[in-house]
């Protein structure tokens, strides 16, 4: 249902003041996501997962290649049109507003302000506290709260394709399992094609297919068992190489 054909995203970078350089963030990715399946995308920090998701939503402009959604070329469609075609995206770092509440976002996402329907949505996404609805989506929300709101607005779209970018960051231990169950239920009951970008084992286990991305390439496609050797391999320190000329600032891994 979502077809990526030789997709690339290139940015120009300033390289030590030697004029503009070019960096391929997404490097010729081709892949066919099938209707109704559950995909987990994983890979090291900075490998291009968010960039890929934003290419699909239309937030990043495609440098070259083609994106087809349900057989239609959407490569140059604006974000609004893609949203209306049935694609929804949960941001890794959700926007914060002044004077806009969760209720407002939910109503925009669902296209209704009818209280009953909004309450039904809350039940569907498992938010039990009603007072939450009138919270401002501003800088005061906690990291976990804003991710729950982000996820709820994505589900409220009733999308054909839902992309969740690290929905579990900041989410407490007690909520991760229910969150995985929720996304599985959406997939199974509504046939939502689901892509979750995550490093979390719970999501990797729930997925029908795991895709691993490194340096803007898909380096693995398959089940979790097959991914294990690569998971350990990619966890080797990749920082040393780029820091050789620099003084050793230490390794994070």
């Amino acid at each position: 249902m979502l077809e990526l054909i030789d997709l690339s995203y290139v940015v120009t970078t300033e390289e030590n003041g030697n004029g503009a350089g070019r960096r391929k963030i997404i490097d010729g990715i081709s892949y066919n996501f099938e209707q109704g399946r559950f995909y987990a995308i994983t890979g090291p920090n900075g490998s291009g997962k968010t960039t890929l998701a934003k290419l699909v939503m239309g937030i990043n402009p495609v440098t070259s290649g083609t994106i087809r959604f349900e057989g239609r070329d959407i490569t140059s469609l604006p974000i609004t049109e893609r949203a209306r075609a049935g694609i929804a995206y949960s941001f890794q770092h959700p926007a914060r507003f002044k004077g806009i509440t969760f209720r407002d976002l939910l109503a925009m996402a669902a296209g209704t302000e009818v209280e009953e329907q909004l309450l039904a949505l809350l039940r569907r996404v498992g938010i039990c506290s009603l007072s939450f609805m009138d919270k401002a989506v501003d800088a005061q929300l906690s990291g976990g709260e804003i991710k729950k709101i982000e996820l709820a607005t994505t589900i409220a779209r009733n999308p054909k394709l839902a992309i969740y970018d690290e929905p579990d960051t900041g989410i407490d231990l007690w909520t991760i399992k229910p969150m995985v169950r929720l996304l599985k239920r959406e997939q199974q009951e509504r046939g939502t094609t689901t892509i979750v970008v995550s490093h979390n084992r719970a999501f990797l286990e729930a997925a029908d297919v795991i895709l691993m991305i490194n340096n803007g390439h898909i380096v693995y496609e398959g089940d979790l068992a097959g991914a294990k050797p690569l998971l350990t391999d990619l966890s080797a320190c990749t920082y040393r190489r780029c820091l050789l000329e620099d003084q050793d600032v230490g390794c994070y891994r």
Binding site: H93, P94, F97, G99, I100, M108
Partner: protein, 306 residues
């Protein structure tokens, strides 16, 4: 008594479809149009009809006063001095507003000078909207001023809004806060075209335990200019915060200067200020919910000025 233009202005600035319940005083083109007093709220004219004194008895609760001003006479510049004396432990809402309808070439303007004396433990909510409309090309000018004096434990919440159509506005807000008093000022201003608006605020925290919060939200469209100045001056152990955000659209210009003066070592004063375009992550979020770019801009501005 009220014609169609009056009704439209009253609806916009004071949310009034009919004459309100309770006490009110409606001023039109520099003269009293209609007034009503209540058992607890008295309204008296100053000499020469230069303004009014509204006296609210101590312990008056759940009552409101409407004092809108409407202007529809070209060439008129109406200055009015209003004084509000709010008795101890009262809890009331005052709804003011000025609507200008300009049909001609001559400028029209209004300067409302409002003084509030809020008694011990009293609470007041003051809501003021400014709006101008009409087909005329005359300049619409509004220069409001408020002075607030808070006695011990008094609380005042001031909501000051300039909705649109005002060509020139110069606002000053001053307040002196007594012990344990609380002042919250929220100012929202939208300018467009070649409009100009200036807001000057000086809040003096003179009593121990006093608190002040000044919030300013500006939207600057077209070639308009808005400047915002706010000073918190602390003379006692107290807390104060200024939050001022300006969204610039098109070619608007803005100068924002929050300033803090601590003249007491136990004063806690903070400010945050920002000027910029609408954040692109906000736009992309709303567009990803199916809104067009224009719809997204409108929703963000609407929320910001709410």
């Amino acid at each position: 008594m009220l014609d169609a233009i009056d009704r439209e202005l009253l609806k916009t600035v004071a949310d009034l479809e009919e004459l309100p319940k309770g006490a009110y005083n409606i001023r039109k083109n520099g003269r009293l149009l209609v007034r009503n007093v209540s058992a607890n709220i008295d309204i008296e004219s100053l000499e020469d009809n230069k303004g009014i004194v509204v006296t609210i008895k101590p312990k008056t609760v759940n009552e409101s006063v409407h004092i809108p001003v409407i202007l529809s006479q070209a060439g008129l510049y109406d200055t009015v001095f209003n004084r509000f004396v709010i008795g101890d432990e009262a809890d009331v809402t005052i709804i003011a507003g000025c609507g200008i309808h300009c049909g001609g070439l001559d400028p029209e303007g209004h300067a409302g000078i409002h003084e509030f004396h809020v008694g011990k433990g009293a609470k007041v909510r003051y809501v003021e909207k400014h709006y101008a409309a009409g087909p005329g090309r005359g300049k619409r000018i509004l220069n409001p001023a408020t002075k607030v004096f808070l006695a011990e434990g008094a609380q005042a919440e001031m909501e000051l809004t300039q909705i649109g159509g005002v060509d020139e506005a110069e606002r000053t807000n001053e307040a002196v806060l007594g012990p344990k008093s609380l002042l919250v000022v929220t100012e929202r201003v939208l300018t467009e075209g070649t409009q100009r608006a200036v807001s000057r605020n000086v809040l003096t925290l003179s009593g121990p335990g006093s608190r002040a919060n000044m919030v300013s939200r500006s939207v600057i469209k077209g070639d308009s200019v808005q400047n915002f100045y706010a000073t918190l001056e602390a003379l006692a152990p107290c807390r104060g915060h200024i939050e001022c955000d300006a969204i610039i659209m098109d070619r608007g210009k803005n100068e924002t200067l929050p300033s803090l003066k601590a003249l007491h070592p136990d004063a806690e004063l903070t400010h945050e200020a920002s000027i910029g375009k609408i954040a692109s992550d906000q736009l992309t979020k709303l567009m990803s919910l199916g809104l067009t770019y224009e719809e997204a801009v409108n929703r963000i501005i609407q929320g910001f000025l709410r």
